[in-house]
Amino acid sequence: MAAWRNDGGTAIDRSQPLAFSFDGKVIEAFAGDTIASALLAGGVSVVGRSFKYHRPRGLWGAGVEEPNALVDIAAGMPNTRATQALAANGMAVRSVNAEPSAEKDRRAFIDAFSRFIPAAFYYKTFMFPDWHLFEPRIREMAGLGTLDETKTGPEFAEQVNHHCDVLVVGAGPAGLHAAREAVRAGRRVVLCDDGRQPGGSLFYRAATIEGKSGAEWVADVATELERAGDLVLTSATAFGIYDHHLVGLSQKGADGAPDRLWRIRAKSIVLATGAIERPLPFGNNDLPGVMSAEAALVYLRRFGIVAGRKIVIATNNGLAYETAEALVAAGADVTVVDYRADASTPAGLRVLKGVSVRAATGRNAVNAVTLSDGTVLEADAVLVSGGFTPTVHLYCQAQGKLDWRDDILAFVPGRPVEGVDVVGAAAGTFGLPPELADGMARDLGIIAAWPKPGAKERVWIDLQNDVTAKDVELAVRENFVSVEHLKRYTTLGMATDQGKTSNVNGLALMAEITGRRIPDVGTTTYRPPFTPVPLASFAGARSGTRMNPLRRLPLEQAHRADNAVFREYGGWLRPAFYGAGSPEERIQAEARGARERVALFDGSPLGKIEVIGPDAASFLDFIYYNTMSTLAPGRCRYGFVLTEGGNVYDDGVLVRLDENRFIVSCSSSHVAGMHALLEEWRQDRFDRKRVFIHNATAEMATLTVTGPQAKALMGTIDLGIALDDTTLPHMAVVSGVFEGIAVRVARISFTGDRSYEISVPADHAAALWTRLRQAGEAFGAGLLGLEALMILRAEKGYVVVGKDTDGTSRPMDFGLTAPLERKKVEFIGRRSLITEDAGRPDRRQFVGLEAIDGKGVLPTGAHGIERGSGVPRSIGYVTSSYFSPVLQKPIALGLIELGLSRMGEIVELQHLREIRRARVVSACAFDREGSRLHA
């Protein structure tokens, strides 16, 4: 490319030279240069290869609209827009979709076959036998940047939640003006812009505002905002507008600082997002050297780069003339091709009126254009302006509807959206706000120059997605005339670009071919994000264990000192087993020790939801399947809680401390759900002043002593309680004192052996645990992890809800029919238990399964099968399965069709390709008479 640096440029600091590499070639630049401006000044004409045809592509734009110049930065982000990333000393930049370099791409040959690979070619051609056969190879050939999978990406992005009276998006003249008006009216304002400083077009379009130059006025307004304590966010793209005026902003971190994701809730939003210049449709309009006229002005005034020496400017409107005059002043040879025959144009310019560009020529760079009258103009840069498309993405995301304006040939915001104002070029008002600079409103004076069907050369509509006018014509021929179908069929307006430069030209061509008006074709739906946002920004610090923090035991350190191996159980990090060596041996030893002697278990996550008040008993009668109001104070009762659909939701023990005070000991993983369930029913159905709920789960730790020696061990610890079975029988609770602190001791057993559950305030748990450990030494007390506890409870046939139940389980399937038959009052789910489904004769029931084939433990999840009519049919499945150390044989639990009436029957169980045989037995495999509870 023939661009050259002059001595201007307000964005760069010539005292700070730097160098970086692009495709291995050294590029020299200055501090303040973007990668794009440095490439342009460094004579790089081909900045990348196109998505599909590997066409050479150069810079089109200077900002967020850039469709071509996506680059991978080593140790940085893939597919970075070169127009927005600052050049840094020593950085290694690579072009995308090109090998070995953009200049000499070895797949450039593909373009020679382009007429055979139009839109949808891949899908049509590689249908048989299977697209997936071809997909990896094709994806490897196409696509843009490359993700370095050895990199983990940014560790986190800061998350900022903020609220304000007015959020102004876009800090050009219209945005600055709106922000200043709001500040002066006493509002709290946030002003954001995706540029590195506020100012927008005032940095490259000449303006005098309130007697100051554009740059001076910008600095004054920014200072006024900051003095008022308002935020001016730069390098921050408002990428989405969400319900109730929430705007998402992705802010690039400066100098290696982490990115920030802002969630700003504003009472009102002003969109001053400007407009994006459109290309003109002519043959080979994608050649490197064909650039937006507005971008050329940016490069000239911000970076001191003159786009070429012999320049053709093609325009269908009046706004390109500022570029023309500036380039002439910079010493370039400029010819303006003005599509308008009757345009009034500035003096001193070479202007050809009433002609248009038919095609550009050149190989890796443009070298000439041919006009509609056959004239050939040599050129090393072709700057084009096909009009401006207001940036209405956020307005449309906010459910705004667009109107078409024939005078400016653009979609503009139509009906007002509450709390969302659109101003400036985004609203179709080009130039400066009239309040600021009378007479500075710029006259677009545009005429139509839409793409036409039937062009001989390839006319590019969407540069990023390689869509030509012919592809749109093909879509129409195949009847994809809806704009949404057009997009999906041709990929027009897809990907990171989202049609910023291409949409309107595509719609206009579709309108032309189908004989409709452009507004009747309509636009595709605008969805966030406006520009890609790194996923790391959405995640913030919520990664790994921070995604869903584990709940931790007060005794975690004590367990670690005992070499506990921790696993997650229902959100809690709990000891699975203790000690090194084979886990299976450790678990078996723990379970055996608990049966033979005594064991200590940390049951702290057990639910402890207090229900208090004069109506507490009748409330719990409604909550539980079982009758609870008859429970005597100081006693405990096991019960089910159902859903209104009559299915088992939770189980557990209810403790009645006194007449009006109960504790719901729900499953540890169901505490949040049970708490919400209790609150919902309390508030909806009961007198809210006569029953109260308090979740004390985390306040109290629960330490359990279980086993035949449990009573003896407890006898050595002074809790001020009597341990005799009259005062403290099975399923009773008493209050005691440990080192001056009130504790609760309950005879509740989940092992089938005599057990004492001691609930102590969490901050005293360590002292009690130490005391139990010391006392336990004399009895050979071991520690019991969750895995061994699971074996002990399975030996007894005790249910774990969610493991031994599923979403269809009803209490009767577990043999618990008495409440349904005898309970006098309503309870949750009652009506569902007398439905046809609840009474089905083939329900799956909870039973034990004893392996009889000598092949060891049954696989959990193995299906019981019945081969009645040839095709095997499932009759249920194994829910829990272990080796029982005390019985020295495998035990299992399962839900089996009509299981309770199949006792003694042999069933076949299938797991993967293996067939096992088991006898249906009672769920309780150990101590059926329950004598050990009292031993």
Partner: protein, 93 residues
């Protein structure tokens, strides 16, 4: 992310709330006399309105259940009410 007005805590992010169903979905009482179709309607038949909706929500932060009138199309929230105030409130579950 919508803002919902908890009658007790003021406007809060929707992620703090738990949906409780249509307001006015009263639980048919007296299980022996409740027909299958009445019970089915209570359990499964939902209004799913387009436009004005009258719903029960729980604010998980404070645990309070309340009724809210909002629009399912434009997501405008009209008003929220403490249970037992501002008309028919029951039948949330």
């Amino acid at each position: 992310m919508q803002l919902f007005p908890c009658p007790f805590c003021g406007p809060r992010s929707e992620s703090e709330f738990h949906f409780g169903g249509d307001a006015g979905n009263h639980r048919p009482e007296g299980f022996r006399d409740v027909t299958d179709s009445e019970w089915t309607a209570y359990l499964y038949e939902r209004n799913n309105p387009r436009g004005a909706a009258n719903e029960i929500w729980m604010h998980m932060a404070c645990g309070e259940v309340f009724r809210m009138e909002r629009d399912t199309v434009d997501h405008r929230v009209a008003q929220s009410f403490v249970l037992g105030e501002g008309g028919d409130n029951g039948g949330m579950a």
